[in-house]
Amino acid sequence: MMMITNLQAPGKGEGYTSKSAFLISFRKRNLRSSKSLLRNCAFLPPAITVKFAMISTESDPPAETSSPGPRSPSGQPFVMISVTEPVKMGTGVQSYISYRVITKSNMTEFEGPEKIVIRRYSDFEWLHDKLAEKYKGIFIPPLPEKSAVEKFRFSAEFIEMRRQALDVFINRIASHPVLRKSEDLRTFLLEEEERMERIRSIEAGIFSKKSSDIFQMFKDVQSKVSDVVLGKEKPVEESDPEYEKLKNYIFELENHLAETQKQAFRLVKRHRDLGQSLADFGKAMKLLGACEGESLGKAFSDLGSKGEILSLKLQKEAHNLLMNFEEPLKDYVRAVQSIKATMADRANAFRQHCELAETTKLKEINLDKLMLMHSERAREAEIDFKESKADSEEATKRFEAIVKTMNEELARFQEQKTADLGLAFHEFAKGQAKLAHDIADAWRGVLPKLEAL
């Protein structure tokens, strides 16, 4: 398989930095995971779900065990989640859509073999936010847009797109080596509906994203003020050139992707318009044929009918394009935005690490001074200094953890995106090929009658 061969480590003769050595060995260990990743692409027609194999942990020995086949759940631990049956609940302004989340598993953590709960969008949002809070450095799978306005219109297409996106979301979490172990995930999948609602509203009150945003804003203002006071004008930023490159890459990538997604969306509309125009044209041709003689009139009528048939095919293809080509591109954009969020986390962590290191240094200097002067305040200062040092070390650890995680995540992200896009391209090309052939066939059917005239 093309992808796997690319993952072979370069020969020993080639020199490479320790970073890339790490990445490559990581890839080797996750050979199986990348295969499974291909199966994890979940842009699906509604009634079909994909079984997600449980990805082996990093501690497993590489690649000898049989790949976790979806067809043989018995031997291997697996978990399979599907988001189904969107149902409108409530009335008027307070209405919302509820989904049936079915977890099938043979693992005890997931209360197997099957567990069904009802969840709504806000529950998914809760899960997303909890994970973002606790797992800094990981690119949390993105949620579909919140859209307060379209919600009221609740078109069938919108609901279907959202359901699909939520299905992808939850399965990505379940197949992420780290995230799948999260307790919040288990809460989400298993808790009773009333408890879930209580948890969600409590969290919304105290630890909501909005609140943490406010805290963060205070901290930002604090640090900005202290920066200015201390004479620093720019906020502290990493100076790693490779990371700089990465940041630029991510920002530019988002722009390019947004453009392709825009064109894809426009293409969907064009299909619909062409379909409509063919239907109208077909009708007009039928009427025109009625003015002409017998035989020619029949040909017109045949042509007109074909036009109407093709109109339906075009509408169908438009829908297919939307679900299986445009949605994946939109998802790509969201994923990039999730990376940006992680980058913001990293920047914060870096700033904290720098500040605390700075503070600690100052305290150390102060301590030395006091000790030289044999001051009574030396003891206090020493305690203070030790605390500060501990904090600083922790902040540094946190920062370094994020850096490490990010690098792993990046490799994973690129692979997953290649697989996702590959699938989307396949669907796109397949759809277009079928449409074109259908159109050619339909028109071809009219020819014999015409040739006979």
Binding site: T49, H256, T260, Q263, A411, T418, L423, F425, A436, L450
Partner: protein
């Protein structure tokens, strides 16, 4: 199947070589085979669409029929005129080209190009069936003259309608575009005239195409002198001294000149329609009335079809455009990923993306070519809709001729009754009434003239009726042939191009097949 690959994906060029498009597809061989049909340009092979407008405008603006200059025939290579009956046309080739601005010798304005100075002349070249070649220059006013003379001498025929004067358009559009549009329209007009079995052989057309120097046709008297002329004649007409003579009845009553006649015919119309008294001669031809109804229905359907055809063309153009833009966006993304790649998966992805982008650009080009063909074929609808205008004119020729006959007949009957009254009155006087008898003689003279006029009017009316009939038959045949060609051409090009588009995408789908999931449909 696609022929030589074209690597320059960066620039979407319109003109693709014919070689790449005439691939081994069944229908393309059908298209090239059909080129053998004489004089049937509608089925000719996909000629590289050489849009006469600048490429930027044809990219962005939707091709409404008037914008898209589909000239399947290059003026430089003498081609056949664009009508199926061209093999019987009197002229093998007519072209209108080389618009040149000239100024009046007496310039009345200081600003060049405005007022009566600065009109355009067009070079008209033609080759008649007898081999006569000619190259002369004419201005738009000459075309108006030609149109008017033809309308007068070919009443009842479906005379092709000349291009509009477009006074408003001339001000609004940029002059280069306007002149170009007009040039094209004039060329089509002359070709249509030449294709008409009667008009193509007419003296007026021959003189227009071949006479050097000033156009030797009487110009339409401008309104001012007509009004003056009419004002002069009116008193004499009222006093009865001036009568509508036979030579005049062959023309409908004209605005300024025949005021009295117009009043009379108007009165007749009122009598016919409001008073309801049945005139002596009426439209009796049932067949004609049926046909007229059918024409109305046809016109309605042609209008709707023509509108929807334009919408279809626009939709086809849009989808091609967006496909191209999608391809370009992906190409940019490909370049970007390739340049910035730090992971192998990125390079792989970039390579896959490039395949899709290339296919999208190819498909976009094919859509554009298909659309050029579609425009050409569906133009038949527009063309026949235009012919309806000529049909209206021909029908109104008929009704105005009929009105003239009716008016003359009621004139006659009133004259006769006056004579009767006078004779009766004078017979009562002993020895006769010389004044009255003289009056009777005058009236009888008037009656004689009017009788002659009536005979001519009736002859004219019959002639026009014949023209109507033969033209309707001719038009039905022509329309049948044209619509059949249209359908064939449309369908063939659709099949051909969509087959190609399908094979482009199939190739890509196969290459991407590795990414398709192994899916298991789970029973829930």
């Amino acid at each position: 199947m696609m022929g030589p690959e074209e690597d320059s994906m960066e620039t979407l060029t319109l003109a693709t070589s014919v070689a790449t498009t005439t691939a081994a597809s069944d229908y393309h061989s059908a298209i090239s085979a059909s080129q053998e049909i004489p004089g049937d340009p509608l089925l000719s092979a996909p000629v590289p669409p050489t849009f006469s407008l600048s490429p930027s405008s044809s990219f962005v603006d939707p091709p409404s029929y008037s914008d898209v200059v589909f000239t399947p025939f290059n003026p430089s290579n003498g081609a056949v005129s664009s009508s199926p009956s061209s093999s019987t046309s009197n002229y093998l080739r007519i072209t209108v080209s080389d618009p040149v601005q000239e100024s009046e010798t007496v310039s009345t304005s200081l600003v060049p190009g405005s007022g009566s100075g600065g009109y355009f002349t067009y070079l008209i070249t033609s080759r008649a069936k007898d081999g006569t070649d000619s190259r002369i220059r004419r201005r738009f006013r000459d075309f108006v003259t030609l149109a008017d003379r033809l309308a007068e001498s070919h009443r009842g025929l479906f005379v092709p309608v000349r291009p509009d004067k477009g006074v408003v358009e001339g001000q609004v559009m940029k002059s280069a575009d306007f002149i170009e549009q007009r040039r094209i329209a004039l060329e089509r007009y002359l070709r249509r005239l030449a294709a008409h079995p009667v008009i193509g052989k007419s003296d007026e057309l021959r003189v227009f195409l071949q006479a050097e120097g000033r156009l030797p046709l009487p110009t339409t008297t401008d309104v001012a002198s007509r009004m003056l002329d009419g004002a002069v004649r009116l008193p004499r007409q009222l006093s009865g001294a001036d009568v509508t003579g036979p030579e005049e009845v062959v023309q409908p009553a004209k605005g300024g000149r025949d005021l009295l006649r117009i009043f009379k015919e108007l009165k007749q119309t009122v009598t016919n329609e409001w008073v309801g008294s049945r005139p002596a001669v009426v439209e009796e031809d049932r067949e004609f009335l049926d046909r007229k109804d059918k024409m109305q229905d046809l016109e309605l359907q042609l209008t709707t079809s023509s509108e929807h055809a334009e919408t279809l063309v626009k939709a086809q153009q849009d989808i091609g455009e967006t496909m191209g833009e999608l391809g370009l966006a992906f190409i940019k993304l490909t370049k970007f990923e390739t340049e910035e790649a730090t992971f192998e998966s990125q390079r792989t992805r970039a390579a896959e993306m490039k395949k899709v982008a290339t296919a999208a650009v190819k498909a976009s080009r094919l859509y554009r070519e298909l659309n050029a063909q579609t425009v050409k074929h569906l133009d038949t609808l527009h063309e026949h809709l235009g012919i309806m205008l000529s049909v209206h004119t021909a029908f109104s020729d008929r009704s105005s001729a009929l009105l003239t006959v009716q008016t003359l007949m009621s004139d006659l009957s009133s004259l006769n009754s006056r004579v009767e009254k006078l004779e009766a009155a004078s017979s009562k006087i002993f020895g006769g009434d010389r004044a009255r008898l003289r009056r009777v003689e005058e009236l009888k003279e008037t009656i004689r003239v009017t009788e002659n006029a009536k005979c001519c009017a009736v002859k004219e009316y019959e002639r026009i009726k014949d023209n109507n009939r033969s033209e309707l038959e001719r038009l039905d045949r022509q329309r049948h042939d044209d619509l059949l060609s249209m359908l064939k051409g449309f369908v063939i090009s659709q099949v051909g191009y969509y087959e190609k588009i399908g094979s482009v995408w199939e190739t890509v789908a196969d290459e991407m097949h590795v990414y398709s999931r192994e899916v298991e449909i789970s029973e829930q």
